[in-house]
C-alpha cells in the first residue's frame, strides 16, 4: 500500500487547485444565480481551463493529448469541483468521450475528430442517449420488453444514414461541437442488439438543438434537447459495428472508461463538493459566535463536523481506490458502488453544511447551491436504477 502521489499527479492537482481557487470560485455563485439557463455558461472559463489542459487531459499521448492516468483525472475533477461542481463536470464530460474516441474510433475517425478537438479551446463533446420516453430503459433494458429503450431511428441510404427523432436531457447539447448519438438501427431487435453509435458534428444538416433545460442545480452545466429531422450522417461516422453500440462497455471492458469512467467521474466530483462543504462548515464554526463563544465549542456542532468529515474522507478513500483500480485494469462493481455511495455522501454532507449555516442564522447562497447541486446525484448516480445496475455487476 502506498498512498503517495507521483510528482506528475501532484503537479496536475496543484495546477487544478490554483485555477479552481483563482478563476472558478470567483464566478461560481454568480453563474449559478443567472436565471436564463442558456446564460449561465461562460466560454472564458472554458478557454482558460482548456489552455491549462483541463479539456483534453484524458486524450492519449500518442494522439497529442496529455495521457493522464485515472488517479490524476480523479484528483483534477475533485479540485475543480471544489470550486464549482458544474464547471468541473463540463470539462470532465469531454474526457469521458475522448476516452471513448480513443478506444473505439478508427484511426481515420480519430484524425477527423480528435485533431480538431485538440486544437480548438471551445470544442466540447457530448453524448445523446436519453429520450422523452426512454431513460431507465436504456440503463437497465427490461428482459421482458425487447422494444423498450431509445427510439431515435437511423436508416441507411447508400453512404448516408438518415436520423429521425429526439433526445432529451443531453449534457453539453447547447455548447458541444461533436456528439455521440445512439440510434435504433434495427427496431425489431432488443436495445443492445439493435443500436448503433454515430459521430454527429454540430453542423450536421437536419440536426438542431431544442430547448435548454432549466435545472435547479448544476446550473452552469448545459443540458438540452436534440432534434433530428432527416439528419444526414455519413456512414464513415458509424462508431464500431452497426447494431453494436453496446460494445462501448461490454466488449471494450474498461479500456474506454465509458460507463466506468462516468461512475468514477461522478464520485470524484462529489468529493470536491464535500471538500468545499467541509471547508465552509469548519470556517463557520471557527469564526461565528453564539452566546459569546465560538460555535466550534458546542458538542452538537462538533458532531456534525465529525459526520461531514468522516463521510468525506471515506469517499476520498473509495474514489482513489477506484481510480487506482482503473489504472490497473481491475474490473469490479466498485466504480458503481462508489458512485452510488457518493450520492449519499454528497447529499448528507451538503445538507449538514447548510444546516450549520442556517442554525447560525447565516444565509449563505453557496451552501444552498451545494445542496441543489448535490440533488442532481439522485437522478444520475444514486437512483434505484443506478444502484440495481451496480448490483447486477456483482452477480456477473
Amino acid at each position: 500500500m502506498d498512498f503517495t502521489l507521483s510528482n506528475e499527479q501532484r503537479s496536475w492537482q496543484m495546477t487544478a487547485r490554483k485555477f479552481a481557487e483563482e478563476e472558478i470560485r470567483p464566478i461560481s455563485v454568480e453563474r449559478d444565480e443567472i436565471s436564463d439557463p442558456r446564460e449561465t455558461f461562460d466560454w472564458e472559463i472554458i478557454k482558460k481551463g482548456s489552455r491549462l489542459g483541463f479539456r483534453t487531459m484524458a486524450v492519449p499521448k500518442e494522439w497529442g493529448g496529455h495521457g493522464t492516468d485515472f488517479v490524476t483525472q480523479a484528483l483534477v475533477m475533485t479540485e475543480l469541483a471544489k470550486a464549482d461542481s458544474a464547471i468541473s463536470k463540463t470539462f470532465s464530460q469531454c474526457w469521458k468521450w475522448s476516452h471513448l474516441i480513443a478506444a473505439t474510433c478508427t484511426d481515420e475517425q480519430k484524425r477527423r475528430f480528435l485533431q480538431p478537438f485538440l486544437e480548438d479551446d471551445t470544442y466540447l463533446l457530448g453524448k445523446g442517449i436519453s429520450e422523452p420516453s426512454a431513460g431507465s430503459d436504456n440503463r437497465l433494458p427490461p428482459a421482458d420488453d425487447p422494444k423498450a429503450g431509445l427510439k431515435l431511428r437511423a436508416e441507411r441510404h447508400g453512404d448516408e444514414w438518415i436520423l429521425n427523432g429526439e433526445k432529451c436531457f443531453i449534457a453539453n447539447a447547447s455548447v458541444g461541437k461533436l456528439f455521440f448519438i445512439d440510434a435504433r438501427t434495427d427496431p425489431n431487435a432488443p436495445l443492445k442488439q439493435g443500436t448503433t453509435m454515430f459521430l454527429v458534428p454540430r453542423d450536421t444538416p437536419g440536426f438542431r438543438i431544442g430547448k435548454v433545460f432549466n435545472k435547479s442545480g448544476w446550473r452552469f452545466y448545459q443540458n438540452g434537447e436534440m432534434i433530428f429531422e432527416n439528419a444526414r450522417v455519413p456512414h464513415a461516422n458509424v462508431v464500431g459495428p452497426v447494431n453494436g453500440s453496446d460494445m462501448k462497455t461490454q466488449q471494450a471492458g474498461d479500456r474506454t472508461g465509458g460507463d466506468l469512467f462516468g461512475d468514477l467521474e461522478l464520485a470524484a466530483n462529489a468529493l470536491g463538493v464535500c471538500d468545499d462543504a467541509c471547508g465552509m462548515a469548519l470556517r463557520l464554526a471557527r469564526t461565528k459566535k453564539q452566546g459569546g463563544r465560538l460555535l466550534f465549542e458546542q458538542q452538537v456542532v462538533q458532531l456534525k463536523l465529525n459526520r461531514m468529515h468522516l463521510l468525506t474522507e471515506a469517499l476520498r478513500s473509495f474514489v482513489m481506490r477506484v481510480a487506482w483500480e482503473h489504472d490497473h485494469k481491475l474490473h469490479s462493481a466498485n466504480p458503481g458502488l462508489c458512485m452510488n455511495f457518493s450520492t449519499d455522501v454528497i447529499q448528507e454532507v451538503s445538507e449538514l453544511n447548510l444546516e450549520l449555516h442556517a442554525d447560525a442564522g447565516v444565509m449563505e447562497p453557496r451552501a444552498d447551491k451545494l445542496v441543489r447541486d448535490a440533488i442532481i446525484w439522485s437522478h444520475l448516480a444514486g437512483d434505484s436504477v443506478q444502484r440495481m445496475k451496480t448490483t447486477r455487476r456483482l452477480a456477473k
Binding site: S35, P142, L295, D359, S378, S384, M388
Partner: protein
Amino acid sequence: MYNLQLSPEQLEIRDTVRDFVTEEVKPLALRPERLEARTRPLLSDVLDKASQLGLRTLALSEDAGGAGVDTLTSCIVTEELALGDPDVAAVLARTSTLAHALFDRLMTPEQTARFLPPFLADDRYHLALAQLEPDRDAALGIHYHRPETSEADVKTTAVRAGDAWVINGVKDRVANAPLAGLFAVEVNSGPGGTSMLLVPRDAAGLSVRESDHSRHFHHGVCGELVFTDCQVPAENLLGPEREDALGGADAGRDAPLDQALNLGIGRAAYEAALEYAQLRVQGGRRIIEHQAIGTKLAEIAVRLEVARTVIWQAAWACDHPEAFADRSLPDLPLTRIAKVYASEAIYHATKDAAECFGAMGVMRDMPLQKYVHDALVCLHAGASNSDAKLRIAEALAGYRRPARPAALAAE
C-alpha cells in the same frame, strides 16, 4: 377516550378548502413562472378569495365575526391550502392565529373597538407579530441546561412621553409585514422589561420594507420594520397575558401550523409522484409496479402519515390543555417534537418523490424541485431543529430556567 373522528363541520371545512385549492389555487400555483421558487410573487387574488371564504378570520371567535375553529381545524385547513400554495397558506395561518390571540384574548374592549372593525371590513388587512431583531442571538445553543438566559435584551425601545409611547429600533423577519394593517411589536419598555405594543401600519415614524424572498427560510411574505420616533397612544399597550397567547413563553406547545403547512407541501409532492408512477412506463410496466418505486412511494406515505399523527396530536393538545393536567398526554413539548420529526421526514419524502421523476425532478419548469425547495425552507424556518432537540432535552430533564423580568401590563 381516544377519538380520531373528525366532526361533520371539520370534514365540511376540509372539503370546501380542498375544492377551493383545486379550482382556484392549483391552476395558478403550477404556472411555470410560479415554479421558480426564488422569484414567485404572492397570489393576491387568491388571498382575497380566501378571505371572502372566511379563511383570514378562521380562528377568530364567532362573537368577534370569525369562524371560531379550533387548532386542529386550523391545521387541516393550512395543510389543504399549502397543498396548493405554501405562501398563501402561511399568510392566512398567521393572520388567523393572530386575530384569535389579539382580538379574542389580549385586547381590551376599547382596543377591540378601535381595531376590529377595520380588520373585518378589509379582505387585504392582515396581522403581524414583530419580535425578531437583526443580529439578536435568540438561539439556545451554548446556554443549554445552563441558567444564563439565551435571549439578549430586546433592542427596540419604547419610552413613555405623556400620553404616548415613542418607539425606536428595527425588527426583521416579520411574517406578513408587507400586508399587515396592524403590528404587535415587542419592545423594551424599561430596565430589562419587555412589553407588546399595537402599532397601526400608518403610524408616523414606521416604515416597512419587504424582504428578499430568496434570502430567508420563510414561506409567505416577510419584511423589516424600522421605527424612528414612532408614536402610538398609551392605550396601545397589550395586556400581560401575551406570553401565553402569542407563544412568547415558548413551552413548545403552540399551534403546529407551520408543520401543517409543511405537511401540505409533502402531500403535494406525494400526490404528484403517485400519479406519475401510475402513468410512466419503463421496464415494460408502470413504474409503480416495480419494487424499487413501490417501496419508495410506501416510505413517502409512511413518513407523511406518521408526521400527520404527531402534528394532529400537538394540535389536539392545544385544544385540550386539560389533557396534560389529567396525564392523558405526556408532559412534553409536543409541538416542538412534531416540528423536529415532521420537518425531517417531509424533506426526505419530497426528495424521494422527486427521484421518481428522474431528471424531470430537478427541472425548474416542473413542480417537484419546488416541493423539495419548499420542504427545505420548512426544515430551516424558525428555530433550528438542533435547538429544538436541546429544548426537548431540557424539558425531559425538567430543567427550568429562571424567569425573565416581569413585563409591563396595560393600565
